[in-house]
Protein backbone atom coordinates (compact mmCIF):
# COMPACT_ATOMS: atom_id res chain seq x y z
CA UNK A 1 0.00 0.00 0.00
CA UNK A 2 1.18 3.51 -0.75
CA UNK A 3 1.39 5.98 2.10
CA UNK A 4 -1.71 7.71 0.74
CA UNK A 5 -3.65 4.43 0.70
CA UNK A 6 -2.42 3.61 4.18
CA UNK A 7 -3.47 7.03 5.44
CA UNK A 8 -6.87 6.59 3.81
CA UNK A 9 -7.27 3.22 5.51
CA UNK A 10 -6.27 4.72 8.86
CA UNK A 11 -8.85 7.50 8.56
CA UNK A 12 -11.65 5.20 7.42
CA UNK A 13 -11.00 2.32 9.81
CA UNK A 14 -10.55 4.55 12.84
CA UNK A 15 -13.82 6.36 12.03
CA UNK A 16 -15.65 3.02 11.84
CA UNK A 17 -14.64 2.13 15.41
CA UNK A 18 -14.99 5.64 16.80
CA UNK A 19 -11.28 6.11 17.38
CA UNK A 20 -9.69 9.46 16.70
CA UNK A 21 -5.98 9.18 15.93
CA UNK A 22 -4.25 12.21 17.49
CA UNK A 23 -2.39 14.23 14.87
CA UNK A 24 0.93 13.85 16.70
CA UNK A 25 0.52 10.05 16.60
CA UNK A 26 -0.31 9.72 12.91
CA UNK A 27 3.25 9.18 11.69
CA UNK A 28 3.91 6.50 14.30
CA UNK A 29 0.60 4.77 13.67
CA UNK A 30 1.24 4.75 9.92
CA UNK A 31 4.66 3.23 10.52
CA UNK A 32 3.12 0.43 12.61
CA UNK A 33 0.28 -0.08 10.15
CA UNK A 34 2.80 -0.53 7.35
CA UNK A 35 4.71 -3.07 9.44
CA UNK A 36 1.56 -4.90 10.52
CA UNK A 37 0.21 -5.15 6.98
CA UNK A 38 3.54 -6.36 5.59
CA UNK A 39 3.42 -9.12 8.18
CA UNK A 40 -0.26 -9.73 7.50
CA UNK A 41 0.39 -10.25 3.78
CA UNK A 42 2.86 -13.05 4.56
CA UNK A 43 0.44 -14.65 6.97
CA UNK A 44 -2.56 -14.42 4.65
CA UNK A 45 -0.51 -16.04 1.88
CA UNK A 46 -0.09 -19.19 3.96
CA UNK A 47 -2.48 -21.87 2.70
CA UNK A 48 -4.66 -23.34 5.44
CA UNK A 49 -7.07 -26.23 4.95
CA UNK A 50 -10.66 -25.18 5.51
CA UNK A 51 -10.94 -27.57 8.46
CA UNK A 52 -8.06 -25.82 10.20
CA UNK A 53 -10.08 -24.21 12.97
CA UNK A 54 -8.89 -21.55 15.33
CA UNK A 55 -9.00 -22.85 18.88
CA UNK A 56 -12.22 -21.40 20.22
CA UNK A 57 -10.75 -22.03 23.64
CA UNK A 58 -7.09 -22.74 23.31
CA UNK A 59 -5.73 -25.90 24.94
CA UNK A 60 -2.13 -26.70 24.08
Amino acid sequence: MSEMELRGFMKAASAVIGLEIPEECEAGVLEHLAKNFAMARELLAFPLEEDEEQAAFFVP
Binding site: V29, M39, A40, L43, L48, P60
Partner: protein, 467 residues
Protein backbone atom coordinates in the same frame (compact mmCIF):
# COMPACT_ATOMS: atom_id res chain seq x y z
CA UNK B 1 25.40 -19.39 52.43
CA UNK B 2 24.72 -15.70 53.05
CA UNK B 3 21.21 -14.91 54.30
CA UNK B 4 20.43 -12.85 51.21
CA UNK B 5 21.44 -15.67 48.89
CA UNK B 6 19.29 -18.31 50.59
CA UNK B 7 16.59 -19.69 48.37
CA UNK B 8 12.95 -19.85 49.43
CA UNK B 9 13.13 -23.47 50.58
CA UNK B 10 16.11 -22.72 52.81
CA UNK B 11 14.37 -19.69 54.35
CA UNK B 12 11.15 -21.63 54.98
CA UNK B 13 13.11 -24.45 56.60
CA UNK B 14 14.68 -22.01 59.04
CA UNK B 15 11.37 -20.36 59.85
CA UNK B 16 9.36 -23.57 60.22
CA UNK B 17 11.96 -25.06 62.54
CA UNK B 18 11.93 -21.96 64.72
CA UNK B 19 15.65 -21.37 64.11
CA UNK B 20 14.83 -18.33 61.98
CA UNK B 21 12.16 -15.66 62.22
CA UNK B 22 9.84 -14.56 59.44
CA UNK B 23 9.93 -11.06 60.90
CA UNK B 24 13.72 -10.96 60.61
CA UNK B 25 13.63 -12.16 56.98
CA UNK B 26 10.88 -9.69 56.10
CA UNK B 27 12.70 -6.80 57.76
CA UNK B 28 15.90 -7.68 55.94
CA UNK B 29 14.10 -7.82 52.58
CA UNK B 30 12.34 -4.51 53.26
CA UNK B 31 15.61 -2.82 54.21
CA UNK B 32 17.24 -4.08 51.01
CA UNK B 33 14.25 -2.99 48.96
CA UNK B 34 14.30 0.52 50.40
CA UNK B 35 18.07 0.83 50.14
CA UNK B 36 18.40 -0.45 46.57
CA UNK B 37 15.21 0.81 44.94
CA UNK B 38 16.38 4.39 44.36
CA UNK B 39 19.12 2.88 42.16
CA UNK B 40 17.42 -0.21 40.79
CA UNK B 41 13.83 1.05 40.40
CA UNK B 42 12.50 -2.48 40.62
CA UNK B 43 9.51 -1.72 42.85
CA UNK B 44 6.54 0.52 42.12
CA UNK B 45 5.32 0.05 45.69
CA UNK B 46 6.75 -1.50 48.84
CA UNK B 47 4.13 -3.12 51.06
CA UNK B 48 5.92 -2.75 54.38
CA UNK B 49 2.92 -2.91 56.71
CA UNK B 50 1.50 -5.95 55.02
CA UNK B 51 4.86 -7.73 54.95
CA UNK B 52 5.38 -7.20 58.67
CA UNK B 53 1.81 -8.20 59.51
CA UNK B 54 2.16 -11.42 57.51
CA UNK B 55 5.58 -12.20 58.98
CA UNK B 56 4.29 -11.72 62.54
CA UNK B 57 1.42 -14.11 61.77
CA UNK B 58 3.85 -16.73 60.48
CA UNK B 59 6.07 -16.47 63.57
CA UNK B 60 3.00 -16.70 65.82
CA UNK B 61 1.86 -19.89 64.08
CA UNK B 62 5.31 -21.44 64.53
CA UNK B 63 5.37 -20.39 68.18
CA UNK B 64 2.01 -22.12 68.66
CA UNK B 65 3.25 -25.33 67.07
CA UNK B 66 1.24 -24.89 63.88
CA UNK B 67 2.49 -25.21 60.28
CA UNK B 68 2.49 -21.90 58.39
CA UNK B 69 3.05 -23.64 55.04
CA UNK B 70 5.89 -24.63 52.71
CA UNK B 71 6.84 -20.99 52.02
CA UNK B 72 6.79 -19.93 55.67
CA UNK B 73 8.30 -16.48 56.02
CA UNK B 74 9.60 -16.29 52.44
CA UNK B 75 9.68 -12.67 51.22
CA UNK B 76 8.38 -12.29 47.68
CA UNK B 77 7.38 -9.65 45.13
CA UNK B 78 4.79 -9.57 42.35
CA UNK B 79 4.64 -7.79 39.03
CA UNK B 80 2.37 -4.79 39.35
CA UNK B 81 -0.36 -6.41 37.30
CA UNK B 82 -1.35 -8.87 40.02
CA UNK B 83 -4.05 -7.49 42.29
CA UNK B 84 -2.87 -6.81 45.82
CA UNK B 85 -5.64 -6.05 48.27
CA UNK B 86 -5.67 -2.40 49.31
CA UNK B 87 -3.44 -0.99 46.56
CA UNK B 88 -4.21 0.06 43.00
CA UNK B 89 -2.94 -2.31 40.31
CA UNK B 90 -1.02 -0.03 37.93
CA UNK B 91 0.10 -2.45 35.24
CA UNK B 92 2.83 0.06 34.47
CA UNK B 93 0.32 2.67 33.37
CA UNK B 94 -0.62 6.21 34.29
CA UNK B 95 -4.24 5.61 33.32
CA UNK B 96 -4.84 2.84 35.86
CA UNK B 97 -3.82 5.12 38.73
CA UNK B 98 -7.46 6.23 38.57
CA UNK B 99 -8.76 2.74 39.27
CA UNK B 100 -9.93 1.91 42.79
CA UNK B 101 -7.68 -0.13 45.03
CA UNK B 102 -7.97 -3.90 44.59
CA UNK B 103 -10.69 -5.37 46.80
CA UNK B 104 -8.84 -8.67 47.17
CA UNK B 105 -5.61 -10.38 46.21
CA UNK B 106 -5.22 -12.02 42.83
CA UNK B 107 -5.37 -15.81 42.93
CA UNK B 108 -1.62 -16.43 42.90
CA UNK B 109 -0.92 -13.69 45.45
CA UNK B 110 -3.46 -15.31 47.75
CA UNK B 111 -1.96 -18.77 47.21
CA UNK B 112 1.51 -17.45 48.07
CA UNK B 113 0.18 -16.11 51.37
CA UNK B 114 -1.73 -19.33 52.09
CA UNK B 115 1.65 -21.09 51.74
CA UNK B 116 3.18 -18.67 54.26
CA UNK B 117 5.01 -16.21 51.98
CA UNK B 118 5.15 -12.51 52.87
CA UNK B 119 4.60 -9.86 50.20
CA UNK B 120 7.31 -7.18 50.06
CA UNK B 121 6.01 -5.16 47.12
CA UNK B 122 4.78 -4.75 43.56
CA UNK B 123 7.29 -4.45 40.73
CA UNK B 124 7.89 -2.26 37.71
CA UNK B 125 7.02 -3.37 34.17
CA UNK B 126 6.45 -2.18 30.62
CA UNK B 127 3.11 -0.43 30.33
CA UNK B 128 0.35 -3.05 30.12
CA UNK B 129 3.10 -5.66 29.63
CA UNK B 130 3.68 -4.47 26.04
CA UNK B 131 7.48 -4.50 25.83
CA UNK B 132 10.70 -6.37 26.47
CA UNK B 133 12.81 -3.81 28.34
CA UNK B 134 10.92 -2.20 31.28
CA UNK B 135 11.88 1.26 30.11
CA UNK B 136 8.65 2.73 31.41
CA UNK B 137 8.11 6.44 30.71
CA UNK B 138 5.79 6.88 33.73
CA UNK B 139 7.86 5.08 36.37
CA UNK B 140 11.35 5.09 34.85
CA UNK B 141 13.51 2.21 33.67
CA UNK B 142 14.33 -0.74 35.89
CA UNK B 143 18.08 -1.19 35.99
CA UNK B 144 19.90 -4.48 35.69
CA UNK B 145 21.64 -5.44 38.96
CA UNK B 146 24.54 -6.87 36.93
CA UNK B 147 25.17 -3.65 35.04
CA UNK B 148 23.20 -0.58 36.01
CA UNK B 149 23.40 1.01 32.58
CA UNK B 150 21.65 -2.06 31.12
CA UNK B 151 17.96 -2.93 30.99
CA UNK B 152 16.60 -5.73 33.17
CA UNK B 153 14.43 -7.06 30.34
CA UNK B 154 10.69 -7.00 30.20
CA UNK B 155 7.97 -6.83 30.58
CA UNK B 156 8.42 -8.37 34.04
CA UNK B 157 11.71 -6.48 34.49
CA UNK B 158 11.11 -5.40 38.08
CA UNK B 159 10.31 -8.95 39.17
CA UNK B 160 13.51 -10.17 37.55
CA UNK B 161 15.70 -7.41 38.97
CA UNK B 162 14.57 -7.73 42.60
CA UNK B 163 15.39 -11.45 42.60
CA UNK B 164 18.72 -10.88 40.84
CA UNK B 165 19.60 -8.19 43.39
CA UNK B 166 18.91 -10.66 46.25
CA UNK B 167 16.12 -8.51 47.70
CA UNK B 168 13.70 -11.45 47.54
CA UNK B 169 14.39 -15.08 46.62
CA UNK B 170 11.26 -15.46 44.46
CA UNK B 171 8.81 -13.29 42.55
CA UNK B 172 5.89 -13.61 40.15
CA UNK B 173 5.63 -12.30 36.60
CA UNK B 174 3.62 -12.73 33.44
CA UNK B 175 4.69 -13.84 29.97
CA UNK B 176 2.69 -13.18 26.81
CA UNK B 177 5.54 -13.17 24.30
CA UNK B 178 8.60 -13.63 26.49
CA UNK B 179 8.12 -11.44 29.55
CA UNK B 180 9.37 -14.02 32.07
CA UNK B 181 12.03 -15.57 29.83
CA UNK B 182 13.64 -12.30 28.73
CA UNK B 183 14.19 -10.89 32.27
CA UNK B 184 15.37 -14.34 33.41
CA UNK B 185 17.98 -14.27 30.66
CA UNK B 186 19.08 -10.68 31.19
CA UNK B 187 19.13 -10.87 35.00
CA UNK B 188 20.78 -14.27 35.35
CA UNK B 189 18.04 -16.05 37.30
CA UNK B 190 15.74 -19.04 36.81
CA UNK B 191 12.28 -18.52 35.36
CA UNK B 192 9.32 -20.75 34.57
CA UNK B 193 6.76 -19.98 31.91
CA UNK B 194 4.37 -22.87 32.42
CA UNK B 195 2.08 -24.48 29.87
CA UNK B 196 -0.72 -22.11 28.82
CA UNK B 197 -3.51 -22.50 31.36
CA UNK B 198 -1.35 -24.27 33.96
CA UNK B 199 -1.45 -21.38 36.46
CA UNK B 200 -4.38 -19.09 37.09
CA UNK B 201 -4.36 -15.51 35.86
CA UNK B 202 -7.30 -14.69 38.11
CA UNK B 203 -7.05 -11.21 39.57
CA UNK B 204 -4.37 -10.00 37.19
CA UNK B 205 -4.55 -7.30 34.52
CA UNK B 206 -4.81 -9.01 31.11
CA UNK B 207 -2.78 -8.03 28.06
CA UNK B 208 -3.76 -10.61 25.44
CA UNK B 209 -6.13 -13.32 26.63
CA UNK B 210 -5.05 -15.88 24.01
CA UNK B 211 -1.40 -15.69 24.96
CA UNK B 212 -1.12 -14.53 28.59
CA UNK B 213 0.73 -16.83 30.99
CA UNK B 214 1.88 -16.23 34.58
CA UNK B 215 4.78 -17.85 36.40
CA UNK B 216 7.62 -17.55 38.91
CA UNK B 217 11.20 -16.28 38.99
CA UNK B 218 13.61 -17.88 41.46
CA UNK B 219 17.21 -18.31 42.57
CA UNK B 220 17.01 -22.11 42.34
CA UNK B 221 15.24 -24.82 40.37
CA UNK B 222 13.82 -26.40 43.51
CA UNK B 223 12.12 -23.08 44.30
CA UNK B 224 10.58 -23.02 40.82
CA UNK B 225 9.25 -26.53 41.45
CA UNK B 226 7.86 -25.64 44.86
CA UNK B 227 6.18 -22.50 43.55
CA UNK B 228 4.61 -24.43 40.69
CA UNK B 229 3.23 -26.93 43.22
CA UNK B 230 1.96 -24.24 45.58
CA UNK B 231 0.40 -22.08 42.86
CA UNK B 232 -1.28 -24.83 40.82
CA UNK B 233 -4.97 -25.61 40.97
CA UNK B 234 -8.21 -24.80 39.20
CA UNK B 235 -9.64 -21.31 39.43
CA UNK B 236 -13.07 -20.19 38.23
CA UNK B 237 -11.69 -16.65 37.89
CA UNK B 238 -9.57 -17.74 34.90
CA UNK B 239 -11.51 -19.57 32.18
CA UNK B 240 -8.25 -20.75 30.60
CA UNK B 241 -6.99 -22.32 33.83
CA UNK B 242 -6.90 -26.10 33.64
CA UNK B 243 -9.05 -28.21 35.95
CA UNK B 244 -6.52 -31.04 35.76
CA UNK B 245 -4.81 -31.91 39.05
CA UNK B 246 -1.08 -32.54 38.80
CA UNK B 247 1.28 -34.51 41.04
CA UNK B 248 3.76 -32.37 42.97
CA UNK B 249 6.94 -31.70 41.00
CA UNK B 250 9.34 -30.98 43.85
CA UNK B 251 9.67 -34.64 44.99
CA UNK B 252 10.52 -35.63 41.39
CA UNK B 253 13.49 -33.33 40.88
CA UNK B 254 16.18 -35.90 41.64
CA UNK B 255 14.64 -38.76 39.68
CA UNK B 256 17.02 -40.61 37.31
CA UNK B 257 17.82 -38.80 34.14
CA UNK B 258 18.28 -41.78 31.79
CA UNK B 259 16.45 -41.98 28.50
CA UNK B 260 15.56 -38.33 28.16
CA UNK B 261 16.38 -36.89 24.77
CA UNK B 262 17.29 -33.26 24.17
CA UNK B 263 17.91 -31.56 20.83
CA UNK B 264 19.02 -28.10 19.81
CA UNK B 265 16.69 -25.89 17.84
CA UNK B 266 18.43 -24.83 14.65
CA UNK B 267 17.68 -22.50 11.75
CA UNK B 268 15.55 -19.58 12.90
CA UNK B 269 16.62 -20.08 16.52
CA UNK B 270 20.28 -19.46 15.69
CA UNK B 271 20.07 -16.89 12.92
CA UNK B 272 20.34 -13.82 15.15
CA UNK B 273 22.41 -15.35 17.97
CA UNK B 274 25.32 -13.45 19.44
CA UNK B 275 28.49 -15.36 20.41
CA UNK B 276 27.23 -15.33 24.02
CA UNK B 277 23.92 -16.94 23.03
CA UNK B 278 25.71 -19.60 20.97
CA UNK B 279 28.12 -20.40 23.79
CA UNK B 280 25.29 -20.68 26.31
CA UNK B 281 23.33 -23.12 24.15
CA UNK B 282 26.46 -25.16 23.39
CA UNK B 283 27.32 -25.52 27.09
CA UNK B 284 23.78 -26.64 28.01
CA UNK B 285 23.60 -28.96 24.98
CA UNK B 286 26.82 -30.68 25.95
CA UNK B 287 25.65 -31.18 29.53
CA UNK B 288 22.34 -32.68 28.38
CA UNK B 289 23.90 -34.77 25.63
CA UNK B 290 22.05 -32.90 22.90
CA UNK B 291 23.91 -33.58 19.68
CA UNK B 292 21.34 -33.15 16.92
CA UNK B 293 19.65 -30.04 15.62
CA UNK B 294 15.95 -29.98 14.78
CA UNK B 295 13.84 -27.27 13.22
CA UNK B 296 10.28 -26.15 13.72
CA UNK B 297 8.50 -25.40 10.44
CA UNK B 298 7.49 -21.84 9.58
CA UNK B 299 8.80 -20.39 12.85
CA UNK B 300 9.11 -16.87 11.49
CA UNK B 301 5.44 -16.96 10.55
CA UNK B 302 4.60 -18.15 14.05
CA UNK B 303 6.31 -15.09 15.46
CA UNK B 304 4.44 -12.92 12.96
CA UNK B 305 1.10 -14.43 13.99
CA UNK B 306 1.89 -13.99 17.70
CA UNK B 307 2.80 -10.35 17.02
CA UNK B 308 -0.45 -9.67 15.17
CA UNK B 309 -2.67 -11.46 17.71
CA UNK B 310 -1.00 -9.49 20.50
CA UNK B 311 -1.48 -6.18 18.71
CA UNK B 312 -5.14 -6.92 17.98
CA UNK B 313 -6.24 -8.28 21.36
CA UNK B 314 -4.16 -5.79 23.34
CA UNK B 315 -5.61 -2.86 21.44
CA UNK B 316 -9.14 -4.13 21.86
CA UNK B 317 -8.72 -4.34 25.63
CA UNK B 318 -7.60 -0.71 25.75
CA UNK B 319 -9.90 0.71 23.09
CA UNK B 320 -12.03 2.75 25.55
CA UNK B 321 -8.94 4.59 26.83
CA UNK B 322 -7.42 4.84 23.35
CA UNK B 323 -10.56 6.79 22.46
CA UNK B 324 -10.61 9.05 25.49
CA UNK B 325 -7.05 9.33 26.84
CA UNK B 326 -4.60 8.41 24.06
CA UNK B 327 -1.93 10.85 25.21
CA UNK B 328 -1.85 9.27 28.68
CA UNK B 329 -0.40 6.05 27.25
CA UNK B 330 3.35 5.47 27.31
CA UNK B 331 4.74 6.62 23.93
CA UNK B 332 6.40 3.18 23.73
CA UNK B 333 3.00 1.47 23.55
CA UNK B 334 0.57 4.12 22.28
CA UNK B 335 1.14 4.03 18.53
CA UNK B 336 1.29 0.22 18.53
CA UNK B 337 -2.03 0.02 20.36
CA UNK B 338 -3.61 2.58 18.02
CA UNK B 339 -2.43 0.66 14.95
CA UNK B 340 -3.48 -2.66 16.48
CA UNK B 341 -7.02 -1.36 16.97
CA UNK B 342 -7.33 -1.09 13.18
CA UNK B 343 -6.36 -4.69 12.38
CA UNK B 344 -8.72 -6.31 9.83
CA UNK B 345 -10.60 -9.32 11.16
CA UNK B 346 -9.30 -11.55 8.36
CA UNK B 347 -5.76 -11.11 9.63
CA UNK B 348 -6.63 -11.96 13.22
CA UNK B 349 -8.60 -15.08 12.30
CA UNK B 350 -5.85 -16.27 9.96
CA UNK B 351 -3.33 -15.81 12.78
CA UNK B 352 -5.45 -17.88 15.16
CA UNK B 353 -6.01 -20.62 12.57
CA UNK B 354 -2.28 -20.67 11.79
CA UNK B 355 -1.74 -21.13 15.51
CA UNK B 356 -3.60 -24.44 15.34
CA UNK B 357 -1.50 -25.53 12.36
CA UNK B 358 1.77 -24.62 14.08
CA UNK B 359 0.74 -26.38 17.29
CA UNK B 360 0.17 -29.61 15.35
CA UNK B 361 3.52 -29.37 13.57
CA UNK B 362 5.37 -28.68 16.84
CA UNK B 363 3.73 -31.67 18.49
CA UNK B 364 5.18 -33.90 15.75
CA UNK B 365 8.67 -32.76 16.75
CA UNK B 366 8.02 -33.91 20.31
CA UNK B 367 7.33 -37.44 19.08
CA UNK B 368 11.09 -37.70 18.48
CA UNK B 369 12.48 -35.68 21.36
CA UNK B 370 11.67 -34.54 24.89
CA UNK B 371 13.41 -31.20 25.27
CA UNK B 372 14.31 -28.49 22.77
CA UNK B 373 17.08 -26.01 23.53
CA UNK B 374 17.36 -22.43 22.34
CA UNK B 375 18.82 -19.19 23.60
CA UNK B 376 16.20 -17.20 25.50
CA UNK B 377 17.46 -13.98 23.95
CA UNK B 378 19.67 -13.49 20.89
CA UNK B 379 21.78 -10.93 22.75
CA UNK B 380 22.67 -9.99 26.32
CA UNK B 381 20.93 -7.00 27.93
CA UNK B 382 21.27 -3.85 25.83
CA UNK B 383 21.91 -0.52 27.47
CA UNK B 384 19.03 1.63 28.68
CA UNK B 385 17.94 3.86 25.80
CA UNK B 386 19.86 1.83 23.23
CA UNK B 387 17.83 1.88 20.03
CA UNK B 388 19.72 -0.63 17.88
CA UNK B 389 21.84 -3.70 18.54
CA UNK B 390 23.93 -6.13 16.54
CA UNK B 391 21.96 -9.34 16.02
CA UNK B 392 24.66 -11.57 14.55
CA UNK B 393 25.67 -9.02 11.95
CA UNK B 394 22.25 -7.45 11.44
CA UNK B 395 21.65 -4.04 12.97
CA UNK B 396 18.10 -4.27 14.29
CA UNK B 397 15.81 -2.33 16.61
CA UNK B 398 16.76 -3.73 20.00
CA UNK B 399 13.42 -3.42 21.81
CA UNK B 400 11.46 -4.97 18.97
CA UNK B 401 13.69 -7.98 18.46
CA UNK B 402 14.69 -9.12 21.93
CA UNK B 403 11.76 -11.55 21.85
CA UNK B 404 12.59 -13.17 18.50
CA UNK B 405 13.20 -16.57 20.11
CA UNK B 406 10.56 -16.46 22.83
CA UNK B 407 7.51 -15.41 20.80
CA UNK B 408 7.03 -18.52 18.62
CA UNK B 409 7.11 -20.77 21.71
CA UNK B 410 4.54 -18.97 23.87
CA UNK B 411 2.42 -18.66 20.71
CA UNK B 412 1.51 -22.34 21.18
CA UNK B 413 1.64 -22.36 24.96
CA UNK B 414 4.60 -24.71 25.42
CA UNK B 415 6.21 -24.82 28.89
CA UNK B 416 9.70 -23.36 29.22
CA UNK B 417 12.24 -23.29 32.02
CA UNK B 418 14.84 -20.60 31.44
CA UNK B 419 18.20 -21.37 33.02
CA UNK B 420 20.98 -18.83 33.59
CA UNK B 421 24.22 -20.21 32.18
CA UNK B 422 27.22 -19.78 34.45
CA UNK B 423 30.46 -18.04 33.54
CA UNK B 424 30.18 -17.74 29.77
CA UNK B 425 29.76 -14.00 29.27
CA UNK B 426 30.18 -10.57 30.87
CA UNK B 427 26.43 -10.13 31.22
CA UNK B 428 23.94 -12.95 31.92
CA UNK B 429 22.53 -15.16 29.19
CA UNK B 430 19.74 -17.70 29.60
CA UNK B 431 18.80 -20.83 27.69
CA UNK B 432 15.24 -22.05 27.19
CA UNK B 433 14.45 -25.69 27.96
CA UNK B 434 11.24 -26.18 25.95
CA UNK B 435 8.93 -29.16 26.33
CA UNK B 436 5.63 -30.60 25.16
CA UNK B 437 2.49 -29.32 26.94
CA UNK B 438 2.47 -30.20 30.67
CA UNK B 439 6.06 -31.46 30.67
CA UNK B 440 7.07 -29.12 33.52
CA UNK B 441 8.31 -32.01 35.72
CA UNK B 442 10.75 -33.14 33.02
CA UNK B 443 11.95 -29.61 32.26
CA UNK B 444 12.50 -28.83 35.93
CA UNK B 445 14.42 -32.10 36.37
CA UNK B 446 16.65 -31.14 33.47
CA UNK B 447 17.18 -27.66 34.89
CA UNK B 448 17.91 -29.14 38.31
CA UNK B 449 20.47 -31.49 36.75
CA UNK B 450 22.16 -28.52 35.05
CA UNK B 451 22.18 -26.64 38.35
CA UNK B 452 23.77 -29.57 40.18
CA UNK B 453 26.40 -29.86 37.45
CA UNK B 454 27.27 -26.19 37.89
CA UNK B 455 26.26 -25.45 34.28
CA UNK B 456 23.30 -23.32 35.35
CA UNK B 457 23.53 -20.96 38.28
CA UNK B 458 21.96 -17.74 39.45
CA UNK B 459 24.40 -14.92 38.94
CA UNK B 460 25.29 -13.53 42.33
CA UNK B 461 27.52 -11.01 43.99
CA UNK B 462 30.50 -13.29 43.32
CA UNK B 463 29.98 -12.78 39.59
CA UNK B 464 29.13 -9.41 38.15
CA UNK B 465 26.39 -7.89 40.29
CA UNK B 466 26.93 -4.22 41.01
CA UNK B 467 24.17 -3.49 43.55
Amino acid sequence: MKEKQMDAIAIAKEVRSGRGSAVVFARSALESAKALNPTLNGFTSITEKRAMREAESVDALVANGRDPGPLAGVPFAVKDLFDVEGITTLAGSKIDRDKPVAARDGTLVERMWLAGACLIGATNMDEYAYGFSTENSHYGPTRNPHGLEHVAGGSSGGSGAVVAADIVPVSLGSDTNGSIRVPSSFCGIFGLKPTYGRLSRGGSTPFCHSLDHVGPFARSTRDLALLLDVLSGPDPLDPACTTEIFDPVLPELDKPWDGVRADVLGGYFQKWSSPEARRAVAVVAEALGAVDEVELPRVALARTAAYLITATEGANLHLPHLRTRPMDFDPATRDRFLAGALMPGAVYVQAQRFRSWFRREAKKVFLETDILLAAATPITAPEIGQKFADFNGERLNARQNIGLYTQPISFIGLPVVTVPVANISKMPMGVMLIGAPNSEPLLLRAAHFLEKQGVAATWNAGCQRVV
